[in-house]
Symmetry: D2
Subunit: 423 residues, 4 copies
């Protein structure tokens, strides 16, 4: 790992987090609109806390914490790092103020940069990978920042704007829905040993797949509306048992952020209320909705390995929008070529629910110590999502990336791509 | 009602609300630390909303609302005024911003003052009493502001300061606890027909009381500590059944804001953490704790009429501190004379739990319309408190005043004064 | 107290409890259809436990408990008697079996009778009043048995019959609704010192009342239907705030046990499903419904002292049905004379909600020891009901009797009688 | 499928269900000690309901239901069969009585046997497989009956006995814990097309496994005690995140049914309280406990395919006890030969948690119609268990059998067998 590009990445990524907060008022930074959401100032603080606890405390002799209480206030879930504020009451803390949190960022950044510039090569060799991990951690929180702000604004009767997107929004897709055959057999899946990847993507290993078909693009809002209009939300036979319970308990009648007004469907976006656009990828659906839609359509969701194998063979796939595109919303697939074997928007646009539970790969070793808590301890009751969304930083996503959420969560940009055994 | 003093009151009271918010950061104004607490900016907006809906909309021809959504956002519980944000999620709204709420106040004040100065006498005669009511409403919210801020800060691990009280805190009381006999018989209770009072204080009516004794001052922290140290919180036989359930469910071991550290009791105050001072009135206890203490002491709580009759005959009573004293904490009773028939701190210091349920007086008429919702609909499952506290404005409290809270609430400055059938 | 009538009472009352269980299958005796309900076999055991713990253990030298675990299993809420099975899971205990519980009753009865017959006069003088109290305790559980069985059967889709009442059910009332004036002033209320009464009915004391009017009979189903058909359950302005919350949370649209089928209202009774009969007293309403009805009717509920004073002056009042009538349902008021100053069904038919909170009388002393837990510790968050119901034993009820339940409870035979300040 | 053996199976299996209920009192048959448990009489009725709805209603012309409400009362979760009693309140129904449920069984059995004996070959060919499925369904409920009765008795302070097992309980195991290597590569897994299997075991398909090691017998109580005594229940770093939350929320300190008394661990069994025996397989642990134990031991849980491949190659494995052994408790592994390559108790003793989520096999087709609801709709948030337990009927279990429960459930006989990547 080279020092100069890492330093550069550090500056760029840390700055990006702050840019994402620029449209926010102080008030927006304090709010927790539901237990899954964290206040933006908590994201700002927690990502700094990560560098302070993992790098500065671990490697800088004589390091003094910026503030003795911040370890408690900004710890997320690391038992190794001691107690923490309960997740569901992060929004009850008015202090530290936003300004104080930015001062914390300044202090951490100055000390991090001074340390990274000046430390000896041997230390850097140890520290570099941890810094890289901390930057990927920060990128994850960039995505959460965007989705949490969407929820904070989406709950507010004033419907605040996050951005004013003056660019023309593509409205029509030129990509026809189609199932692309993929050959089964033995495939290597998971991240190779070199390069950055989370521990949960490793080790790379062999999996046997049956031949399958995968949809060339994500399911669109128009397609999903057919399910909805066909009574999809009222027919228990289409749903997983837990899914139907969620439908009844939560009163779901449509994806999150959809509202039926004057005979048509509107959706709340980070650029304001907009009509649901038929060619857009469907988003903000739970795993349960994805599974019910698939059953209704006579298809199924792909496994994570089917998805990964298809992505690995899809060199020329068109990407969907990513964080840097600043759409903050999935746009219809528009492709230079709509060749029959092409996949579109495997990367970007919406995270795609797979029918794979989030579990360890064969040979997975959960590290001892705090970084071992990063991924391994969440390997129950969650499903794998693949491909990144319009809120994912470009340098953060890759085909082997395993995101994971519980089946009922809807506040991420989560969508659907169907698979089939035969077509 | 005279126009000029009312206008003056309007200016002074509206300004006082803002002064109380001066020590707050923007962040503090947005937070709801528990369902009973409202964000300070909500108090700022709601008190303005009250004038807008009751006065401006009702009496100013062609009145345009400041903002179409504010009626929804700042309504508290008035079914007559339509829908509202659920009380327990007031803290999930980052917008309107604090600055926007102040602009709302500005706008309401300008329009109110212009209207009150210029309206004709006939209209003023109708409107004056409603404005006076709105100002008393605002004073209630001043008290809630102080107690809500105390809770917001008290939950924060950083323990922020609300004020720095540089005055010497009186530490010792020169008042010896004593029971004062009061003669029973027929007494008139409740507010007379003239002068401002809430509808729940009326009509003035006759009540028959048996002779009783009432403590000359509120129970002190030192006295309460004896109960605590005697295992008061561990002995179910001292408690009401619902009270013992609350002790077990909530894990109560002491009054709210008390912490046991290094062998001594500290308390969180609006001036920071301080040792519990023995001569101070006990505060932040629930009705259940008050009742258990009374049973432990072999005494009882007074009824609200006993309290009122004693107060009515206690012309020379020393007052406890009130909002304008800016102690924001009850101080020990210090009296020029500790004569045997004197009561101390009936008014001020701490609200005193009575053993009377909050119910209508004989002949009480609940108005139709929104103002009828003010008091009457809360007449179940609450107990009456009397006398005001260190957070109550001086011009707001009087001996006939009936405050009311559910038995388990502790975040107000609520204390104890004992009564007895004989001594 | 004479020994022979007490022994006779003991036999009769204990036997009555068992008669009430005769129509039940073993299965019915084990069920707890909601937390407020206790399984019938628990009532059978608990009433025996009361005699065992209070009399046999306290007064019989060398008493050996029938079973070492029964003290834990059959204790209701007496902290003085140690731990107990949590109330809401009484229905999870299949053992002891019903047969074993009857054996327990046999054993307690034999030992009680032997003891009462043979003990010396001095002991009997102490024990007699406790036995009398235990018998009144058993009568309270007789009423609960009936209402709990009604709930158990009412929840069952098979709608089992408890009794087949072959007598003609009176359908029409010859009593016209009318308000009877009652003179205020100073009145003595509460139970006199001699004779059995609960501690909460004492001491007898003076109360001052304003003149008032009280309805001559309970509100009928027909009258209540007008409220219901006028949108009473949909208008929040008629309700106490807590009451409206209960309406929304519980989805109340009618009294408990009412069902709307094919355009008419049916009610579940202990003799099966029956049409709602207009002249019957309304029953199974909560305090909230009673208060909302009164507000809708432009009247109010009486205080408990108003009720008691009216009852004390109503020598010739017609009684409603009581337990011994074996109607198990309130019947329309039918009177020999419908004189203008007559009250009907003050005693019997339905318990009448008053607007008085359940609180101690002036001079009330809660005993130390287990019997002090009987009434005093429930003096919060409950309202007083007066007059007994069709499930109350005749020898158990009297005009000074104070029953009490939380505002939202509906499974007792609870009804409404209106009061007014003037008519 | 031959008619005579099926008829025989029908008689034997239906009879077995009733034999299992013989030790129960009527009272035991009505109780639901927690939402997961069903009252025994519900099991008796539901298994009959299954035959009535699937066979009699589907195939017998002019079939009249035994009782019009039973379809509602005894439906478990079949949306296709209409409404049903909410699962968590099955224990609030005292009727139908136990006797009536047995009459229902009689009636169903008579009609089933008459129909099966007399129907023509063509119909039998269609019906036979459904009857076989119904019998396997009944066997599943036999296991649930045993575990539900254990919970019902285990909650009761009287600790009733289900059986008195007078046979000598094997106390020592002669099997030394050892890891057996299993070769990876391509394996066929899942049930072959012929013979009875659930749809979730199919289709048989190819899976690629890495070489692994699997423990030769289930983890013993003695081994688990080392984890417990090493603070296993107090160290969050050993637990999955959801698991640690369950530990804190539920207060887990040991497996279900364990009690620490006088310095030693006792366990509730269906033969009464007994000391925990070190050589017995550990049982009544959740998936979370299994996973925490594995992490503590430096090992992992096997995947379901690892388990199945090992079982497929373990021809001579000693079985653990099964339902017919009437131990109702796992016994220590005792083997004729403890050869190094031998597995013990793969079948029987305790269900073994795997680290595989319960998900469809490649090519799995969920049927339309009620039988499609049997397995497919539960394929989320559950983990696979393998091998059967001491409560599983011998003819019901096979190596491809996939049982499934949510991670936190503990009332089944669920245990642990460790796997490792290398040893």
């Amino acid at each position: 790992m080279k020092r100069s590009p890492l330093l550069n990445n550090y500056r760029v990524i840390r700055q990006r987090t702050e840019s994402l907060c620029e449209p926010l008022c102080v008030e927006d930074c304090v709010i927790q609109s539901m237990p899954d959401v964290s206040p933006p100032k908590w994201h700002l603080g927690h990502t700094s806390w990560f560098f302070e606890r993992v790098i500065l405390e671990g490697f800088v002799p004589g390091h003094k914490p910026f503030h003795e209480s911040y370890s408690f206030i900004f710890n997320s879930y690391y038992q190794s790092f001691g107690d923490r504020v309960r997740r569901d009451i992060r929004g009850t803390l008015s202090r530290p103020t936003v300004k104080e949190v930015y001062a914390y960022r300044r202090s951490v950044d100055e000390r991090m940069l001074a340390f990274l510039e000046n430390t000896d090569e041997a230390t850097f060799a140890k520290v570099g990978p941890l810094v890289e991990l901390g930057l990927h951690h920060e990128q994850q929180h960039q995505e959460l920042l965007v989705t949490d702000v969407k929820h904070i604004f989406g709950c507010n009767p004033l419907r605040p704007l996050y951005v004013t997107d003056r660019r023309q929004q593509p409205v029509r897709s030129n990509v026809t829905a189609r199932f692309v055959p993929v050959a089964g057999g033995l495939h290597e899946v998971g991240a190779a040993a070199e390069g950055f990847a989370w521990d949960n993507e490793r080790p790379r290993h062999t999996a046997f797949l049956t031949d399958f078909w995968l949809m060339n693009r994500p399911v669109s809002c128009g397609e999903y509306l057919e399910f909805l209009n066909d009574g999809g939300y009222r027919n228990p036979l289409l749903w997983l048992s837990d899914g139907w319970e969620a439908v009844c308990r939560e009163g779901w009648e449509a994806p999150l952020y959809w509202e039926h007004t004057d005979g048509r469907w509107l959706q709340f976006t980070l650029s304001g209320m907009r009509p649901v656009s038929k060619d857009e990828p469907i988003s903000h659906v739970s795993f349960y909705e994805a599974a019910a839609y698939a059953r209704w359509a006579g298809k199924r969701l792909p496994t994570e390995f089917e998805w990964e194998v298809a992505a690995a063979t899809a060199g020329g796939a068109t990407q969907g929008s990513l964080l840097e595109d600043e759409r903050f919303h999935p746009v219809p697939a528009v492709a230079a070529s709509d060749a029959a074997d092409r996949f579109h928007q495997l990367i970007g646009a919406v995270w795609e629910w797979t029918n794979s539970a989030y579990l360890p790969y064969p040979g997975y070793q959960q590290e001892r110590g705090p970084l071992g808590e990063y991924n391994g301890k969440f390997m129950s009751n969650q499903m794998v999502l693949r491909g990144g969304s319009c809120a994912t930083p470009r340098s953060h996503i890759r085909p082997t990336y395993r995101n994971f959420f519980p089946c009922e969560k809807r506040w991420q940009f989560t969508g659907i791509r169907l698979a089939a055994d035969n077509c």
